[in-house]
Symmetry: C2
Subunit: 440 residues, 2 copies
């Protein structure tokens, strides 16, 4: 048996499960910190749900495209049922809905929460699609109707977040499920959910493909199909789009309501740079549970790259678990997807392999206790300080600082009573320094 | 079919997979932040490994007590092999070892990393034992020998961390595998690894049980067994224990080395409060890979509660993956276990259900844009600010602030040109305030 082969196999990357070197993980943590700070600045509270849910709960939410990873104890006992009971969650929305329903009496409404966790999908890995990835979500759930202002706050927070991360301009397309459902209703289509599901494939199979599916699966007339496709062509940044819908001559109360809501949201988003938000009536979002506003965000610099954020309003998802009305609205940032793309494009410039600010050099023949005490004194003042734990040539110690990108190295006094000295590794300049007062 | 039953089932907690309400998650995040800050203050760099490893890698490390969760795509294709290839990791050490071996040329040594992630074990849940839990690890891996100073730094950092978390006094027991292996060697026992494994069961099966196992499995003489048990009774906070070992009359070079190392570490830890560190020659640690120092920490206030931190030196674990010498040393904090225990004992006193500092009250008949602009102005100054998104009775809005533990509420001017006012919810005091300059 060739053990070398097994060993190499062990070290291989697993497709779809990304890992970063420390210098990139430092940047990823900065991103997570920034996102969390923005979410908290709007008063969203953190929760973290367990990684697994009952298989039944995950399967029920319809999004069957997402392949689910079931878990099972490797050493399951002989009597143990082979049917997997639990599976890793594929997003944060379904677990959050379950969490809210389970903790209804302990939560204060409107419940505003954020969640920044990994999710897992057994999809075929491809550009921007991972099997393990971070998502960062905010959602609002209420026992009352959720004011429309939240429909604007969601994409506004995502805009602010992407801007803070420095990912370049983003474009969020907005639509409203009531426009789609109401329009189809006005056309006399009973099964609007299935029509929405088919129209959602527009990006993948094109207008022709969607037309054929609508004819085949829903037996729609060529006229109805033409009207449906005409609606998907409407987009714009202002209220003019409402006029374009009117021209199509389809009417229903739900459609009116949807148009009002979309107009309201677009109006509130007017304060953002032109082109950041676009009403686009082709946007459907695949998930069955959306009932109002829907959003999809792309990075403007990478128009062919998949959607990086998405969300919408879902008035029935949470309440359906406990037979109550609990409207919800939320949006999700596909952190791993964005991060991966930017590092691939060379847009991330990590400079440090360690958080260390200062490396205390171990003097030749020095006293460990004195070096450690100096490191401790600096650390107590809030600095991130490593000491070189070994009496070794200065060259080797300086190379270590240089290789890790540590900005300052610290030299102990050469003689008792002498001065400490600090070297700025970027400039090479050295100066006397006092451990009790030195700052970078 | 009774759908109500299914629904209730869906909402049930899953045994061993803890979840917290927002007020506790806020505290847990504070803990994670504090631990991270301390790890970084010593120059440990963050990494995060994927959640899964090849089953073969996880099984190889011997710790077969830990039941492993394999993952498998629920919709696996018919041709797909039913044998699980990947499983969720049960700790951070094995994944870190694999990561270091895989990225050897990209890392700078000594490689000092921290990892704060969830791990999964399919064990029977019981007090302090979870199936999903956070571990916070630091480790050092080097291509050279790792100086003994690190053997003291590891438990010192853990002490500082537990102290910063306010978990009450901790006691870390220290031993050295070389003492055990060398002592057994001196007794003429060839299979010291198995002897260590059996002695590790002392806590569970007692001295009598260990003696019986040693006799049965390793065919040791009553005299050898008596000597082994005598060693496990030695403990103390100072160098006197070395004399006690000498009295047992067993000698070997490895034993000498182990005693020197333990003495060295105990000496460096003398600066900590008496009783925080205890040399205890009964400590073995179950994991096969330890080769030197081993540590186990307990919360002094809960002596019957399981070990909350553990670690040690492992000179061969990482290198064995690539046939090189890569010594390592590390320690792990069982965050979920500690956090769970403290909340159970009522030691955590969460006060807030949200990070929000200020709630901006929506005035009756007010303008949304003006309220939102005020919230934005406060937010831009670094405050965490929610606005009540709805024109609603003040009582309901104040109740919301009160129920969530929001410390301040903000009132818009009652008339144009009037003053903003802030109420301190704790004292009930109100005062004029300027959104451009107010601080809490």
């Amino acid at each position: 048996m060739d053990t070398r082969v097994i060993e190499k196999q062990k070290l291989k990357a697993i497709s779809g499960f990304p890992e970063w070197l420390p210098e990139l993980r430092i940047v990823e943590l900065q991103w997570l910190d920034r996102i969390r700070a923005i979410f908290e600045s709007y008063g969203y509270a953190p929760i973290e749900t367990r990684s697994v849910e009952p298989v039944e709960v995950l399967l029920k939410q319809g999004d069957t495209d997402k392949e689910i990873y079931a878990i099972r104890r490797l050493l399951a006992e002989p009597g143990e049922d082979a049917t997997p009971e639990h599976a890793l969650h594929y997003d944060m929305t379904v677990p959050m809905a379950r969490y809210v329903a389970a903790n209804l009496n302990e939560l204060v409404f409107p419940f505003k929460r954020y969640q920044m966790q990994k999710a897992w999908r057994g999809e075929r890995p491809q550009e921007g699609r991972f099997r393990e990835f971070y998502q960062c979500d905010i959602d609002v759930i209420d026992t009352r109707e959720i004011p429309l202002h939240f429909d604007a706050e969601m994409p506004a927070i995502v805009f602010e977040t992407l801007d803070a991360l420095g990912v370049g301009p983003s474009v969020t397309k907005l639509n409203n499920r009531k426009i789609l459902a109401g329009y189809y209703e006005g056309l006399g289509i009973a099964d609007s959910a299935n029509a929405i599901r088919i129209v959602d494939k527009l990006d993948k199979i094109g207008a022709k493909g969607v037309g054929e599916m609508l004819a085949k699966e829903l037996s729609l007339s060529p006229d109805a199909i033409a009207k449906i496709l005409a609606l998907t062509e409407i987009r714009g940044t202002d209220a003019a789009i409402l006029g374009q819908v009117e021209k199509l001559g389809v009417k229903s109360e739900t459609l009116e309501k949807g148009l009002f809501e979309l107009g309201f949201v677009m109006k509130e988003l007017e304060r953002f740079p032109k082109g950041s938000f676009v009403a686009d009536l082709s946007i459907a979002r695949g998930l069955a549970y959306y009932t109002g506003s829907v959003y999809e965000t792309k990075l403007a610099d990478f128009p062919d790259f998949p959607t990086v954020c998405g969300g919408g309003r879902y008035d029935n998802l949470v309440g359906s678990l406990i037979n109550r009305r609990l409207p919800g609205i939320g949006i999700s940032i596909g952190l791993t997807r964005i991060f991966w793309k930017l590092q691939k494009e060379g847009r991330l410039k990590p400079t440090r392999k360690t958080p260390t600010d200062v490396l205390v050099i171990f003097p030749r023949g020095g006293e460990y206790a004195a070096v450690a005490a100096t490191a401790r004194a600096l650390r107590e003042r809030g600095l991130k300080v490593e000491m070189y734990h070994e009496d070794r040539k200065f060259d080797a110690q300086l190379k270590y600082a240089n290789d890790k990108g540590i900005p300052f190295v610290w030299f102990m006094p050469e003689a008792p009573g002498g001065a400490h000295r600090v070297r700025d590794m970027a400039t090479g300049q050295q100066a006397d320094a006092d451990p009790a007062s030195w700052t970078a």
